[in-house]
Symmetry: C2
Amino acid sequence: MGSAKALSYCSCQNHCNVLLLRPFASSLSRFLSSTSALDSPPAPPSMAPVLKCEYAVRGEIVTLAQALQEELKSKPGSHPFDEILYCNIGNPQSLGQQPITFFREVLALCDHPSILDKSETQGLFSARDKIGLPIEMIDNYKDSHDSLSEWKPSADAIERAWQILDQIPGRATGAYSHSQGIKGLRDTIAAGIEARDGFPADPNDIFLTDGASPAVHMMMQLLIRSEKDGILCPIPQYPLYSASIALHGGTLVPYYLDEATGWGLEVSELKKQLADTKSKGITPRAVVVINPGNPTGQVLAEDNQRGIVEFCKQEGLILLADEVYQENVYVPEKKFHSFKKVARSMGYGEKDISIVSFQSVSKGYYGECGKRGGYMEVTGFGPEIREQIYKVASVNLCSNISGQILASLVMSPPKVGDESYESYYAEKDGILSSLMRRAKTLEDAFNNLEGVTCNKAEGAMYLFPCIRLPEKAIKAAEAAKTAPDNFYCRRLLNATGIVFVPGSGFGQIPGTWHFRCTILPQEDKIPAVVSRLTEFHKSFMEEFRD
Amino acid sequence: MGSAKALSYCSCQNHCNVLLLRPFASSLSRFLSSTSALDSPPAPPSMAPVLKCEYAVRGEIVTLAQALQEELKSKPGSHPFDEILYCNIGNPQSLGQQPITFFREVLALCDHPSILDKSETQGLFSARDKIGLPIEMIDNYKDSHDSLSEWKPSADAIERAWQILDQIPGRATGAYSHSQGIKGLRDTIAAGIEARDGFPADPNDIFLTDGASPAVHMMMQLLIRSEKDGILCPIPQYPLYSASIALHGGTLVPYYLDEATGWGLEVSELKKQLADTKSKGITPRAVVVINPGNPTGQVLAEDNQRGIVEFCKQEGLILLADEVYQENVYVPEKKFHSFKKVARSMGYGEKDISIVSFQSVSKGYYGECGKRGGYMEVTGFGPEIREQIYKVASVNLCSNISGQILASLVMSPPKVGDESYESYYAEKDGILSSLMRRAKTLEDAFNNLEGVTCNKAEGAMYLFPCIRLPEKAIKAAEAAKTAPDNFYCRRLLNATGIVFVPGSGFGQIPGTWHFRCTILPQEDKIPAVVSRLTEFHKSFMEEFRD
């Protein structure tokens, strides 16, 4: 059942192979054994199958978009648009968002061995004057440079780099670290969580990972013992969860977010699905909550969070809190509150509830997807189970050190008074306020389209508008052997160069149609997105009006 | 059976949780369901079990070592030694090996956003003069620095950084890349493989990964359909393989390396084990070969490799070639030859044999374990199966970009005439020739010990000497409820502070005892290792002589 569920959401983020690998393995084994490497030497051998499987975020539509882009290059003017406008994936720097200077200064300083050399012989102060001019560079490069001089990043970047290097045994940024992550960096992250929540955090509860995805896989591996174990997931959802649950042979238990109340999470819906699950002999293990939401973009109200915490405590369910968009909140009336903070403010401690909070360096205002940094904070599990998590974390020895450093930086950015603070704040505010404007502009544009309704863009990086398609369009989609939302997105792309992801990639109430649009195109591109979309939608509705 | 096998090698690298998770899941499910989160709210919930499970490389012995280290700090003179000498793990930079300057210069330049800013407005040449002095640094830091000046890394490091940035769409080092890795970097790696082998390499066959381990997991996930699928693995072996096979529910088929012939890999042994496997109804899928060997340190002779290639071709088996130590060869009479090169030189092409070659930035002379970079080159699979591998590769979107860049650098280091070449070569040669001397010194030292024989240290980073323990010692180990090799290593540690890994962590012929010793302690520490070991061993043999 979990597999079936999972499969029905299998069209996004390339996770689908995972969805299909396991469910199909048994049913296909007969076919496979008859075509195994042994029976049909030599190559190519048969593999565990990854069959008919659509991508969405990087899928059919995106492949088509890339083909069109090539055609535009080779034959300018061959299409009614001059560029592809990618609104399909939460990958900010791929669309021109610049990294935060302070973070990259620290990473560069930590990477550069000259600092390590200096550190052997000199204290921070003198090193500041000599920074970037290692002995061996004088020796090796004297001849080739007439004037030798220094690189001067901000003083606090240098100081931070030193602090970080001092936290790494032997200052060895090129060494495997503790499998849980470098202790000093976990101290910094724990302090950042305390400052954010106003409640204590324990460095031993922090597990640094290559982005948030491996952390999610780790927890599923530990939680799921058989397909009789169920994980409650929101629908619509970020398909990593359906993928990971299928990968580890568990059962996805869907609960539906209420579009009518701004993608609200109703505890009554959780209770209904829980009862239904138990009646089927499935043991519910955990509840996944994505806040701010992906693909839905809502930010949960604090009292709503309290209800969810109370529900998990009563039912003894683990709360898996995807909080990677914690910095992405765009409306004054909403604030991000971590589920751990909410639980603690309700008086629930370690012994009362188990919460896992996932964080990533890929989102927020930093958007450092390529660095693959992130962490999970696991509370309420006790030492034995933390020990088990540690063992799972150790499978690949450790996460990459630059990602670990970056995770510590996003949880402890420059503070008022630091040399970098002003420029750091200007960069951060510039990105977030621009995202806020882009979200609002797109939200309004969608709501101005005939038959389209779009909830408020409260947070994250996405809008998930609902489109009521005319019967004629649905019939045309059937004739084209594709889903109506996919049909719409393909037509949109061919007419305008705009890339959306069909709602079926995330799951939606049967009979309803949606698409996901990121708010990430640079601000000067947004007017083009709006005008092209509006014009296309008009003609589409004209063409298919019943 | 696979599980059983796997379990018997389950005492190394913290992979054991993986080994145990699956095999135990079923047998423990009854126990677990009775203690599920639901039946015993609230926390802590039960987890998929990771039971009694020893570590070796980072295990019991290492934990003890860390405890002793703390005691030495708090109570100097509390032990008969003043420092712990770690010979347990292949983590060079943790023991003081310095990174290669050129590689880190390029990484730092790619991380630093000022380069990206410049690139918008200036070509390479002018940027070279202005490098490291971004506009915003002038604006932000004018006040805080009296003199503004420049950082000047080597010209070829700057040029390489530019080449790399130009290969990254939008120069966005902070963006998710193609899930297979950045195309331009794969081009560079393919060119490096061609230069190494003298045979063509296809960038589309390269999959960049966070170190070699994820690549191994990926292939096992694809190859193993059920426990009826067998993977031939050397014994002794690097436990990643037993771990990964168990993780994916397959069967490990052991073949024994012949210690008497310098850990030779006899094709007759492969044939014997293959026949035995088939008779048990297991379908052999692939053969794992580690060359140079871990933990055994041998380098395969080319004719031996030819025999293995011929065997795989005849039997239609996939050759999984762990070639991460390809730069670590210490004897003039042996050279590293990739299995693909050997196959091609035999006239076998894409259609004749399937080979996967694993490479990592963690080993070689670079030893950049913390960067988590690596790749696999998959040949002889055909487009459909490469498509499947791509989908599996996409599960976590992409590997970290710094690791990807580093993987391209180790496959295309500075060349004669480049500004960095001399210093690069000096650093590389310094590390490799020192490793060669350390290996020889330790090899001789082991062979001078009563009852110890050690094969030639031909390559990799390890020695795996055999120790014939007196009956008395074996009885004493039994009394201490531990394996004899573990007993010896623990005594060694307590007496000398030297950390070895018991052979049982890698697998050994029943009744024989070994330990693995890395050659990585810095050269000035080696004499201490030798003298302390020699002294300890004498007294140990005195104490237990039959």
